[in-house]
Amino acid sequence: MDSSVAAEPNIRVVKNATCTFCGCVCDDMELTVDLDQKRITKAKNACVLGKAWFAEHSVDESRPVAMIEGKEVSLDEAIDEAAKILVNARFPVIYGMSNSTSEAQRETVKMADLLSANVDSTSSVCHGPTGMGLQGVGEPTTTLGEVKNRADMIVYWGCNPSDCHPRLSTHYAVNPKGMYIPNGRKDRTVINVDVRSTTTTNIADVFVQVKPGSDFELLWGLRILVRGGKLNPAFEEQTGVPIDVIENLASRLMSCNYGILFFGMGLTMTRGRHYNASALHMLATDLNEHTHFVVKPARGHGNVTGADTVMSWQTGYPFGINFNRGYPRHEPGEFTTTDIMCRGEADAACIIASDPMANFAKPAIDHMKKIPMISFDPKPTPTSQAARVAFTTACYGINTPGTVYRMDDIPIPLRPAFESPFPSDLDILKPLVKRIRELKRAQY
């Protein structure tokens, strides 16, 4: 299926291109590309975020492909220096990967294994608690195609897809007509649970406002009702939601044909974290006694789901993995990057397609300033500026092909718009892994 058709001499139209901005990974983009200017001039079907993602991506050819201590060097020199840093480190930390292809993620896990390093994705500061929560209670899961064709009850809990994943509602979950949802939006009920009204509230049939930090108690209350119990007045006191509203919500959830709970940082990054996520998964399990109910985290970065998936099938664990002893071990809090950095344990870091220097806690950033870092990024960032070795890479999805995983764990191929003069993450990782292997052999 060739998707590229020459419309005008220097204009290329790419059909069925994939947007890698958020976890929706919409694969029905029609991109118009000005090849002279190396710019995407039009992104048909894209949401407001996708339009900005495509429109604002330009390639600054004046940037060096690699830098050591801020000075331009050749790619080979930089790879050699990066390999030496990583091989000499006793506790190297490899982090990021969410904005990279699964092929590059696979190579990254190989590198971590080879180095006996610590490897972690941005999940650990995002939906990591979801992974921890479901390990204890199981995951009633689904795909977005199933949601489109079957779901008559959509719950958005602690997330705001209208702003963060605009096409989750319009393309997959709320508006489209499906096999068993012939009238689209009219056949579905949308419930929004949040601490304040958001733009998602505008598309919801029911809005339940919960007191900040009491989602766990509300979930616990719903579980009691779904299991046939009764609520005492303390639930209203603690959650701020009247008992009759909780009862109404529970009966709606139990009486639907196919329900889905989408949730976001409102659960995973507020007090209770993994236990909030776990409570939501347990609610879905309880609801399966009455009807069919599933859960899906609304994942943020384009391929953060891929990072979890690739690490799971390569090591058995989704994030926070340590190879120090030659085999993978998983322990959130112990082997998650932000905790390692806050305790000052790492002696080198390799940051792939992410920017922890801009969003980690201050003690973590302070430690990262002290250790040699390697960064892979298409643009200059606080991380690339603080890195000893900085690689400029091509942007995945726009410039490089590969595979990314949608938030429902479905792999989607990428169809790049135009070529970049810079190498992809994978193009650098492959020779880097080769060089690491050579240096390791020389050591023994």
Binding site: A89, R90, F91, P92, L115, S116, A117, M132, Q135, G136, F216, E217, W220, G221, R223, I224, R227, G229, L231, N232, A234, F235, E237, Q238, R271, G272, Y275, F323, N324, R325, E331, P332, G333, E334, E345, A346, D347
Partner: protein
Amino acid sequence: MKLTVHTPPEVPLEAEILSPTSLAGLSEAEVSALIVHHGNRKEALGEFFSVNGKMNGRLELEGDLSFVKLIGQGMADGEMFIEGNVSGHLGCGMSGGRIVLNGDAQDWVGEDMTGGSITINGNAGHMVGSGVRGAEQGMLGGEIFVRGNCKNEAGGAMRRGLVAIGGNSGDFTGLNMVAGTVIVLGEMGIRTGSNMKRGSVISMNPARMIPSFSYSCTYQPIFLRFYLNYLRDVGFEIDDAWLNGSYQRWCGDAISLNKGEVLLYQS
């Protein structure tokens, strides 16, 4: 035998061999030659510790141990005295013997322990006496005494044994508890006893209970006197008023078996 840190590790040092059980019958030279994991390298214990004395069931550790993990893992007998702060997994999976720590410990103290006792004359991190993540049951026996504060999920999924915290505990104290006793002399965080089946969580301060717990009665539990006197004997400061005091009894967690209890000192 006494082990003193002469070169603090630069990255985490995994030294599960540091227990009287593992070192029993070894000479100074043999102990120095034992292998520990310094990050991703295997190195000799002697690179970090100077070893003095004979091993006679008593092991002393001293110095900067803040990067040393897994001390006392699987310990079955003997005594260990530690001066200084230690990293995670102190006494994990231990089945007997005694550990006394003069300092702070990080997360996972006494994870999955089945017997013995751990005393921490300082603060502890998260998951004191807890089971590994996803496990249905954690601590199966033994005692953990923390003089200072601890963080979240103390006594998570414990099945038997005693966890006593002299200071405050974090959120989810006694989470998923199957049985056993957690006593917090200070204040507890929120969501105490979530999903607990049986077991007792006791605190000397008021606490906000999750609404799936129901108030049962206020009474003077006789058994608690024995516990509190025992804690006084092991060095905790016990107020006389607590011995004969009245306690609110809360039953829960209704979402689970509802056979657990939380006792909160009232007057």
